[in-house]
């Protein structure tokens, strides 16, 4: 038994369909039990326990059930799903089939972001090879009644469609505006039917877990964050790329691996994550501490933190769906605040107002986009207050 990180998802000899072979013929509940034993939590960012989600969908009643693979990967700084779809598509589809078997769904949908359309031909060819091998389609592996097929649905350039209820709206042909939750997709999802939405990495991991057993995976990581995680590392470092590392690794350790120890700051979790300064580099990357979908943006010495904050806020102003006021108006107000700071014309009193606006957004926005969008701003003005205040007007 190897414990090398490469062996989980990115290793050269990761076996394909071993999980399916092992579990397809057995009781469907055993699949969920194995995933529960692994302690796997969603890799899309929110960290919801995967087995709980599957169990709810299994126990829900509906005319049909659906397994949706969330391949919308729009969080700035995240690209690990692109790597999985390119290098490990079979594992992702295997995970979807196992999820389908577990909850009693016969249809899977991959919601692929429009920006990844160049991957579509590759994914279609993997799917058709799977049909030929009888690991997709009707009577998978010759098991009567195990029918599961997958189709690819293209996104059309909207970050918010990565939010699971907006994604379902989009699949149904609507504007990608998040719904109120509850009800949750596990009960009322695609066309009102029980639906699980899972991240690409979550599904690939589920396939590995069903093969190797939940205890194997649970042996890595921390008590509340089991296993390994893919980290998308970019920015000012020597070796950007995707790293498969145990949950709970310290920021400092990761920076050392990627050649980024000189960093001034690290943005953890992409635009919707938080920015940490050197003082916090001994914190851990896991759900108990710095929870993240895996985006690590290294910000080198000499970088202008206001430019960083502005970049993120411009992103949110553009990507807000506009449905609710805290997010629609709040992000614009924060961006104006950044512009005042850049112009060197922001009083401390005004900065306080902006901070409390950020807090309001966190509490009152309808979906995760508006709830998390002030985080980068708040953490940057907090950690780098002496840098961002009292700027000299620029030419």
């Amino acid at each position: 038994m190897s414990t090398k990180p490469q062996d989980i998802l990115l290793g050269v000899d990761v076996p394909i369909d071993a999980g399916l072979q092992r579990a397809a013929g057995g009781p469907t509940q055993a699949i969920i039990d194995e995933v529960r034993a692994s302690g796997l939590r969603g890799r899309g960012g929110a960290g919801f326990p995967t087995a709980t989600k599957w169990q709810l969908a299994k126990d829900a009643t509906g005319e049909a059930k659906f397994v949706v693979c969330n391949a919308d990967e729009g969080e700035p700084g995240t690209f690990k799903d692109r790597v999985l779809l390119t290098e490990r598509a079979d594992l992702v589809f295997e995970g979807m089939a196992l999820a389908g078997r577990a909850i009693g769904a016969s249809q899977g949908i991959v919601y692929l972001r429009g920006e990844y359309r160049y991957l579509r031909a590759h994914l279609e060819s993997v799917l058709s090879a799977r049909r030929d091998r009888r690991v997709l389609g009707t009577a998978i592996l010759g098991i009567p009644g195990f029918d599961f097929d997958i189709e690819i649905h293209m996104g059309a350039g909207a970050y918010v469609c990565g939010e699971e209820t907006a994604l379902i709206e989009s699949l149904e042909g609507h504007r990608g505006e998040p719904r109120n939750r509850p009800p949750f997709p596990v009960n009322t999802g695609f066309f009102g039917q029980p639906t699980i939405v899972n991240n690409v990495e979550t599904l690939a991991l589920a396939a590995r877990i069903v093969h190797r057993g939940g205890a194997w995976f649970a042996g890595f990581g921390t008590p509340a964050s089991r296993g390994y995680k893919l980290f998308s590392v970019s920015g000012d470092c020597e070796k950007p790329g995707v790293y498969e590392l145990p949950m709970g690794i310290k920021v400092m350790e990761l920076l050392e691996l990627v050649g980024g120890l000189h960093a001034k700051a690290v943005q953890v979790g992409g635009a919707s994550g938080r920015c940490i300064s050197r003082a916090e580099f001994d914190r851990s990357l896991c759900f108990e501490d710095l929870a993240t979908g895996g985006a690590i943006m290294v910000i080198g010495p000499g970088r202008d933190m206001l430019r960083v904050a502005k970049n993120f806020l411009e992103f949110f102003v553009e990507e807000s769906c506009g449905q609710c006021t805290p997010c629609r108006a709040g992000n614009v107000a924060l961006l104006e605040g950044i512009e005042l700071l850049i112009a060197g014309r922001c009083s401390m009193a005004h900065l306080h107002e902006l901070k409390s606006l950020g807090e309001t957004m966190r509490l009152t926005a309808k979906c995760g986009l508006g709830q998390s969008s002030p985080q980068a701003f708040l953490s940057i003005v907090e950690q780098f207050s002496d840098e961002v205040l009292g700027q000299q007007p620029r030419a």
């Binding site: 790597v83 699949l171 590392v233 950007p240 970049n311």
Partner: protein, 186 residues
């Protein structure tokens, strides 16, 4: 739009509706197909789609306005989308953006006078480990340098049939980075 052109478009939309199904969930695939062929979705097309799927044209318009890959106004045959998110910014996107503007002779948000190219900013393209990144149509270019822009545009002209092919072997260009694992930690 000429009557004949409308007839052709109408027939195409019917074919698309038959392919994807006359149901609301077919709306995005149909609109994306029209966008791809005509580079925008005009009023006539919106009305046709609405009628076939039995929804109000305003609904279709609302969907077109929502998604950044759908356009109600005409765009160039080749859409160039340059990532403007943080990692590409740190990797020097501004210089590349400037050079694209210089080589195309337009600014971001504009379309060349001959209708061949439109230039837009996009948010993170998922290539942050090898920025600056841009999409030319569906084609991905990563770690783009200013000096490569001219060649990339020439290839686009050839590969997308914007004008007759002048260079052979476009798909094997050294500037067309297809290997998404480049730079990955081993």
């Amino acid at each position: 739009m000429l009557i004949q052109e409308q007839r052709v478009l109408e027939a195409e939309i019917i074919a698309l509706a038959d392919k994807h199904g006359r149901k609301r969930s077919a709306l995005l695939p149909i609109l994306l197909a029209i966008q791809e062929k005509y580079h925008y979705i005009n009023k006539f097309a919106m009305q046709e789609v609405a009628a076939l799927l039995d929804i109000h044209p305003v609904e279709v318009y609302g969907v077109v306005r929502f998604y950044s890959f759908l356009h109600a106004e005409r765009r160039g045959s080749v859409m160039i989308r340059m990532c403007r998110s943080l990692s590409c910014d740190l990797a020097g996107k501004d210089a590349v953006a400037r050079q694209i503007e210089n080589d195309l002779g337009i600014k971001f948000g504009e379309t060349t006078a001959d209708g061949r190219f439109s230039l837009e900013y996009a948010q993170c393209l998922g290539q942050c480990d090898r920025g600056p990144a841009l999409l030319v149509g569906d084609q991905l270019h990563a770690q783009v340098k200013c000096s490569q822009i001219h060649t990339i545009l020439e290839q686009a002209r050839a590969a997308f049939g914007v004008y007759p092919l002048r260079h052979a072997g476009v798909a094997h260009s050294p500037h067309f980075h297809y290997d998404p694992m480049a730079g990955r930690a081993s």
